[in-house]
């Protein structure tokens, strides 16, 4: 860092002279120190936001996004997205250092993912999500959104900082399909253009630099079609992130060996949406009539999030899990439907199928 010494002094001098003229003009000499404190607060918060580079790079699918450091061991919280669908996931810290990130797990409801950087002993600056759990903001409070939107910053360049006001604390009303949100709790709605391409995973902080929330993925309003600017509040995500850190790791199912007579989605009567990327979410496209899935009450547009309590984050994970479950055993499938988690018990045995058939309450909807 030796080469920075001169620059640092230079900046300090400039800041002092700038601050002086500013204060003289506004007759607010007493507040001059506050101005530089504000800039310092921003710089401190910027260092806890990282640049993430992964899959994408096609039209309108940017190959970058943002994330925040949440532990001194190198845990990075970011938005679950196609950008993470690669073995070659790079995370760049504020000092320009580039790290190969390990993908640990993701939470299907908040749609956040946890990465880990091998920073042994480095102790990077980070937000403390546990203490941030208690931070909240009311409509009218001034906030700062920090992210690498549009991938503007590279290397050791600081991420972008945008300012605005919390305009509402309210549930998301996002469009369906690609712009659907699984999260049904209240979010911070902002008047800053916080959620531009590449901003997902960035930080929402207050004017003291305290973490208020995490910028969510790009969503459009179901009402107006305009892009939503919002953040998931720390209180709403802290539990899920704690669970991710405690190691509900998706890959655990694959430690079992596949069994000969295993369950399959097809045999249960579940047809999933086309599997187009390596982590396609397991949305139910349709349910075969009179299948065990139909009998149990699974419907199209359900998002499968757990099987027997194991988080299922992709279609691949779903198939891997089912392959390892004996067909003779019943299987519990948990789905997310309109923001609610619903559990269904399915059994592939013919006998039970016939017994339950007569009791089926809701015939499955099958759409072409």
């Amino acid at each position: 860092m030796g080469t920075y010494g001169k620059r640092g002094r230079h900046q300090l001098n400039q800041r002092m002279s700038f601050t002086a003229s500013f204060a003289a003009l506004l007759l607010l000499a007493a507040n001059a120190t506050l101005a530089s404190e504000f800039q310092r607060t921003i710089r401190t918060a910027q260092r806890k936001v990282v640049k993430i580079y992964g899959a994408g790079g096609f039209r309108q699918l940017e190959a970058y996004q943002s994330g925040i450091l949440i532990s001194s061991e190198g845990h990075v919280l970011t938005a679950q997205s196609y950008v993470l669908d690669t073995d070659d996931l790079a995370v760049v810290l504020h000092d320009g250092s580039k790290w190969e990130a390990e993908y640990l797990a993701s939470d299907p409801i908040t749609e956040l993912a946890l990465l880990k950087l091998p920073v042994e002993g480095l102790r990077p600056p980070h937000f403390d999500l546990e203490s941030a759990r208690a931070q909240s903001a009311l409509p009218g409070e001034r906030v700062l959104a920090m992210s690498n939107l549009y991938g503007i910053a590279t290397g050791d360049e600081p991420v972008s900082a945008l300012q605005g006001v919390v305009t509402a604390v309210a549930p998301l009303r996002a469009r369906r399909g690609a712009y659907q949100s699984n999260f049904r709790g209240n979010v911070y709605v902002l008047d800053a253009y916080s959620n531009n391409p590449g901003a997902a995973g960035g930080a929402l902080v207050d004017w003291q630099g305290r973490l208020l929330g995490v910028l969510g993925k790009e969503l459009r309003s179901e009402v107006t079609g305009t892009w939503l600017n919002y953040a998931l509040p720390t209180a709403a995500i802290a539990d899920a992130v704690a669970a991710l850190r405690e190691g509900r790791i998706v890959t655990s199912v694959t430690t079992l060996a596949p069994v000969e007579d295993a369950h399959s989605a097809e045999q249960l009567g579940i047809l999933l949406v086309p599997d187009v990327v390596s982590r396609t979410p397991p949305y139910v496209d349709s349910v075969r009539r009179e299948s065990s899935a139909a009998q149990a009450g699974i419907r199209n547009d359900d998002l499968i999030v757990f099987i027997n309590g194991e988080p299922i984050e992709s279609q691949k994970a779903l198939h891997l899990t089912l392959e390892r479950l004996e067909i003779a055993d019943p299987v519990t499938i948990s789905v997310l439907r309109s923001g609610e988690l619903k559990d269904f018990s399915l059994s592939a045995l013919d006998a039970s199928f016939e017994e339950e058939a007569s009791e089926a309450e809701t015939p499955a909807e099958v759409e072409p």
């Binding site: 500013f22 003009l25 506004l26 101005a35 800039q39 300012q163 531009n196």
Partner: protein, 584 residues
């Protein structure tokens, strides 16, 4: 200040929502801050210009920077206008304006508003002192809304400094720019970005949009005013001004070092010793830790600018000063400006979300426009002269003549004599029209100015001192129009003092000579003679002007060639003889 602003916001909300009886008057400091801000914006608005092309179809914004009407805007705003545009100001008047100079790479244009000598002008700030978190505001003509000529003002914050935004091809590169969330919409192009104290810190010109359409999404970019300061003298020359390159490309290695991965062997950096594999440490005083940082540091200089460079080889740091090469050769840049399929920007047009990030305004074919001889307003026609390679040759002629008129040596030396004998402590020099001779303590050299001049670069190691003196005499004798090709370049920093000097370029017999004048005294302070491309010039520095032989003449001469000081001489006598006899 921040807290006060926050209070201010709450105070406004409270006034609207609470019953009047229950609220106290806002704190004095809040009222004062608001009044100060209103006043700053009022003054800043008065300097802001709404630019319209002559068809009234397109336009943008600008800002006046001097009382005589010089105003800054974007190249992409003036490009569709041709030489003339209409400029509305908040005083309700529409002024004719004429193009002065353009910087197509930096997307900057200098225009001059006509008709007044007392235009309200913005004060230039220091964009290198700007920090993320500083409060700023934009003023301008978004969506060409300013039908009443009153600019729209938008408040916001600096989101990033020293940003790099890629050019399209080699034009419209935004290096070392400011990023703000203050609204920059189509039509704001060319308009001012002001610091909260009202000082001009940038020229707005670009935003990131992608799939978000063509309206502000909180990510706008302004060309830093410090970059423009480097170009201002050049822009006043009426030329099409080029940016600079090091002549080398760099890449960032795995271990985070910035190293030269390619270098041209005819560039100045190569002659100063830079080689493949060398690590860049500092450029123009900035630490170079990424390739982007070099692009930022490089992108703010015009061609020909001398820049200090520190590089490292074998664990040793080497310091040198590099004279930057042009990005384009001059004809190439002129052709590019003409070829750009620019058309008038239509900021009121519906945004097309499928288009690429940067709005690419279109430029009509300049030469076609000129062929059509559009009817220019008289005020503009009096200040416009078309010439290949220039945005407006009229300004170049004017600058040349100003320099020439203010040069005290013009009369002193040309009238007094064509034969000089200069006696100094390091040498005695005799210069006659066809011959020259220098006697140094251990050497005698001569030069003959008949026939092929390019071989007459004596004395050895000087780069051509006698030739340099000969060309000085030629300029004195022939003047601006008969010397050869002469043009005003703009201002470059003095090799020794770094203060700006006015540069007059004379091209004669394939030799490009830069005559450098002090802007205040008008004295000739340097002659940089480049006999041909790819070699080091002879750089003669003239200082310590005092009375010698009854004239104000330079008493101290220094001659540099490459990295070496060839000669340092104090002048003792200077004989001026009218008779053009021979030396012996």
């Amino acid at each position: 200040m921040n807290r006060v602003t926050a209070y201010l916001a709450f105070a406004v909300v409270a006034t609207i929502s609470a019953p009047l009886a229950t609220i106290a008057a806002p704190h004095d400091s809040v009222v004062q801050a608001e009044q100060a801000r209103v006043e700053v914006m009022r003054r800043a608005s008065a300097t802001t210009v709404a630019i319209f092309d002559n068809s009234g179809e397109g336009g943008g914004s600008g800002v006046v920077i001097s009382a005589d009407g010089y105003a800054l805007t974007n190249f992409h705003v003036t490009a569709p206008c041709g030489p003339a545009m209409k400029c509305g100001m908040s005083d309700g008047n529409v002024y004719d304006a004429v193009i002065v100079g353009i910087d197509p790479v930096g997307d900057v244009a200098l225009i001059q508003l006509l008709g007044r000598e007392d235009f309200p002008a913005a004060e230039l700030g220091d964009s290198d002192a700007v920090e993320v978190g500083d409060w700023v505001f934009t003023a301008g003509n978004p969506f060409l809304l300013a039908n009443d000529l009153q600019p729209s003002v938008a408040y916001g914050m600096i989101s990033g400094t020293h940003r790099y935004q890629y050019p399209s091809g080699t034009l419209l590169e935004y290096a070392d720019c400011l990023q703000t969330d203050a609204a920059i919409n189509p039509g704001n192009s060319g308009g001012p970005l002001f610091a909260a104290d009202g000082k001009l810190i940038g020229i707005n010109g670009r935003g990131s949009f992608e799939k978000r359409g063509r309206v502000n999404v909180g990510v706008g970019y302004a060309i830093s005013i410090n970059q423009i300061k480097h170009f201002l003298g050049h822009l006043k020359s009426g030329r099409i001004v080029d940016h600079a390159t090091l002549g080398a490309t760099v890449s960032t290695t795995e271990d985070g070092l910035v190293k030269v991965d390619e270098i041209l062997d005819d560039c100045d950096a190569y002659r100063r010793g830079l080689r493949y594999g060398d690590q860049l440490i500092q450029f123009a005083g900035r630490p170079i830790t990424t390739a982007n940082r070099l692009k930022n540091a490089l992108g703010i200089f015009p061609r020909g600018w001398p820049v200090p460079l520190v590089y490292r080889r074998d664990g040793q740091n080497v310091q040198t000063v590099v004279r930057l090469t042009g990005v384009h050769d001059p004809t190439q840049l002129y052709d590019l400006v003409q070829q750009q399929p620019f058309k008038p920007p239509r900021p009121d047009k519906q945004p097309d979300p499928d288009e690429d990030e940067t709005p690419q305004p279109k430029l009509p074919n300049f030469s076609q426009l000129l062929k059509k001889k559009p009817k220019l307003p008289t005020a503009v026609a009096n200040r416009f002269e078309a010439r290949r390679g220039y945005a407006n040759y009229w300004y170049n002629i004017r600058q040349q003549e100003l320099l020439w008129k203010n040069y005290p040596g013009r009369e002193a030396l040309s009238v007094a004599g064509k034969r000089w004998r200069i006696v100094g402590d390091a040498a005695t020099i005799d210069i006659a029209p066809l011959k020259a001779r220098i006697d140094q303590p251990n050497a005698v050299s001569v030069a003959n100015f008949e026939g092929d001049l390019s071989s007459q670069l004596s004395p050895p190691g000087s780069g051509g001192l006698l030739m340099t003196l000969h060309l000085w005499q030629r300029l004195l004798e022939k003047g601006l129009r008969k010397y050869g090709e002469v043009y005003y370049l703009g201002q470059l920093p003095d090799r020794e003092t770094a203060s700006p000097v006015d540069c007059l370029i004379g091209v004669y017999a394939g030799m490009e000579t830069c005559f450098q004048f002090d802007p205040d005294s008008g004295h000739l302070v340097g002659i940089v003679m480049l006999p041909r491309d790819g070699v080091d010039p002879c750089d003669l520095r003239l200082s310590d002007y005092r009375e010698i032989a009854g004239q104000q003449l330079p008493g101290t001469w220094k001659v540099f060639h490459g990295d070496e000081l060839f000669m340092h001489m104090n002048v003792e006598e200077w004989e001026l003889t009218a008779n053009a006899g021979d030396t012996n």
